[in-house]
């Protein structure tokens, strides 16, 4: 069986979530991955470690920005050319926007938020996370072609493969597809991306103001973590919107989520309930977040965090 994976690049590097998607695909069949825009052949060859036998590289520079229609066109062309019956991608804000179009182009059944390999004993049944992490649905895809968007951090990375063959792949892309003009991009560089992160340190209204975020950032730096926040914190512009975690924000699924000065409203929990471990630091022992936590400390963030940071630095040195 031929499987195609959509590689997302971040500053020229393959995203971890795309490596997870490749690992998933490799368990299903012969895996070709496709990368769009500028990237080095050496970097793309590393997709082999995760299980890709080949990487198709569409180096058209117009694809350096993640534009939805041209991306959908390339994915459909690559699927046709490799005769892929399954397309795998990480679930992300870009992939969400792109793969719906690919599904409609190819008449492929699309299931998102997939958390496990399919059960193919009878039909083709995948388990997906629904109700914002509060439940799962087993869904059978009834079309010949299938598209699976994999939830981040749900699949174990395969890392033992050899380098993949990198081949140039060209798709003729009509100028009309580039119908959106990007006029400005505002992006933090070098930060750990919140949706991809293995550890997240998140702050809430209990931190009192944006000027106090240093203690969150210091702890995140020690742990190599991404920073997050609750909705009111981004509503008040203490932190940028892309850090807002929860029902109406980013849904994270890290190994470790550390929540500081966040009460644990159900809408916040909806964004973090797929975390493997949760640590809650709150001065109110009645804070609902403790019920969802694995480890808890009742205390003042301004006293606990610096101490915790020092202890972690010592332990990780």
């Amino acid at each position: 069986m031929s499987v195609l994976v959509f590689i997302e690049l971040e500053e020229g590097k393959i995203k971890k979530s795309s490596r997870e998607a490749i690992s998933y695909a490799a368990a299903l069949g012969n895996t070709t991955a496709v990368a769009l825009g500028s990237a080095s052949a050496d970097e793309l060859a590393t997709a082999g470690a995760n299980g890709a036998s080949k990487v198709l590289h569409v180096s058209d520079e117009r694809l350096n920005a993640g534009l939805i229609q041209p991306y959908a066109e390339v994915l459909a062309a690559a699927a046709n050319s490799t005769e892929a019956t399954i397309i795998v991608t990480a679930k992300s804000s870009l992939a969400d926007a792109v793969v719906g179009r690919v599904a409609a182009k190819l008449g492929a059944g699309l299931v998102s938020n997939v958390v496990a390999l399919p059960d193919t004993s009878n039909e083709f049944v995948v388990k997906r996370s629904i109700y914002t992490g509060k439940a799962f649905a087993n869904t059978s895809i009834t079309t010949d072609k299938k598209i699976l968007a994999i939830k981040k951090n749900a699949i174990e990375l395969k890392t033992d493969g050899g380098p993949a063959d990198v081949e140039a792949f060209s798709v003729s892309l009509d100028d009309a597809l580039f119908n959106a003009k990007i006029t400005a991009t505002d992006k933090a560089e070098g930060d750990v991306l919140l949706p991809e992160a293995d550890i997240v340190v998140s702050g809430g209204r209990g931190l009192k103001g944006p000027e106090n975020w240093g203690i969150i950032e210091d702890l995140a730096k020690t742990l190599g973590a991404a920073t997050g926040c609750s909705k009111p914190v981004s509503d008040m512009d203490w932190r940028p919107h892309h850090e807002h975690v929860g029902q109406t924000g980013v849904k994270v699924s890290p190994s470790l989520y550390i929540a500081v000065g966040i009460s644990g409203a159900i809408q916040h929990l909806a964004g973090v309930n797929s975390s493997k471990y949760i640590v809650v630091i709150n001065k109110d022992e009645e804070a609902p977040f403790f019920k969802a936590a694995d480890y808890g400390i009742v205390g003042d963030a301004f006293e606990v965090l610096p101490k915790l940071n020092e202890a972690l630095k010592k332990a990780l040195a």
């Binding site: 109700y131 799962f136 087993n138 400005a184 109406t248 471990y277 809650v280």
Partner: protein
């Protein structure tokens, strides 16, 4: 300006999620249903755009009769008329096909949706509809302004945002802070009762997937409390018990 807003009818964000009938059906017992929060942002922005530019807002839901109170709420918030496609929305492609069919009947300058539904969290219907209609689609859109036939939009990207200039018409999956949720006022609620709500039957029965069984995640174990003066214990647990650092 003519705007189509597609809304879902979903359990309130505080609902306890449970299933019945041997885990094949969602348990609606005691659950309150709302307009999907992201769809609610799309609707709020549509109301603001209408205030600025004039025009008409049509809301659309693919759902069975039980969704009508949710549709009426959208009319109370400021939509002018509504369409309900009378079918259970079991599959995204099926839903996208119905939306595309309704959209073809009107000349819409904008088709606004939520970035994702909060029941199935697919985030895919906007792209499908864009493709089915041959229109551009964008998501997640956090700002949207219209001038003549062009729009300035801001979309969220991982770790930041990007501003784009695009031509109408297009499909957008919306999220905050595109607008503030609007609460219907008394006048809105009264007028919503008499606004047209047209029920149409589905045009195409194609489905790409079938739900078989629901599952709930295993219950969480009890929390271990650590003394604030003993953060070393937490470090030790993270390192040696959880093994996450």
């Amino acid at each position: 300006m003519n705007i189509l807003v597609c809304i879902t009818h979903v359990p309130d964000t505080t609902s306890r999620i449970a299933f019945t009938n041997d885990n094949t059906e969602f348990d609606k017992n005691g659950v309150q249903f709302i307009i999907g929060p992201y769809d609610d942002y799309a609707l709020a922005r549509a109301v603001e755009l209408k205030e600025q530019h004039g025009g008409k807002i049509t809301v659309l839901n693919v759902g069975e009769a039980e969704t009508e109170p949710t549709i009426r709420k959208a009319l109370a918030i400021g939509a002018d008329e509504a369409v309900r496609v009378n079918a259970f929305p079991s599959d995204s492609f099926f839903v996208a096909n119905q939306i595309a069919a309704v959209a073809k009947q009107g000349e819409y300058d904008l088709i606004l949706m939520g970035r994702e539904s909060i029941d199935f969290n697919g985030g895919m219907v906007h792209g499908m509809v864009g493709e089915l209609l041959g229109l551009p689609s964008f998501s997640p859109v956090m700002q949207l302004d219209v001038e003549g036939t062009t729009a300035k939009i801001t979309r969220e990207i991982e770790g930041g945002k990007e501003k784009l200039e695009v031509s109408l018409p297009f499909v957008a999956g919306c999220q905050e802070p595109i607008a503030e949720w609007k609460i219907p006022n008394m006048r809105g609620i009264m007028s919503a009762r008499t606004k047209p709500l047209n029920v149409v039957e589905p045009t195409d029965a194609t489905v790409h997937s079938q739900l078989s069984k629901y599952e709930l995640p295993p219950a969480k174990g009890a929390v271990k409390m650590i003394d604030a003066d003993n953060v070393e214990e937490l470090v030790d647990l993270l390192k040696n018990e959880a093994k996450v650092i």
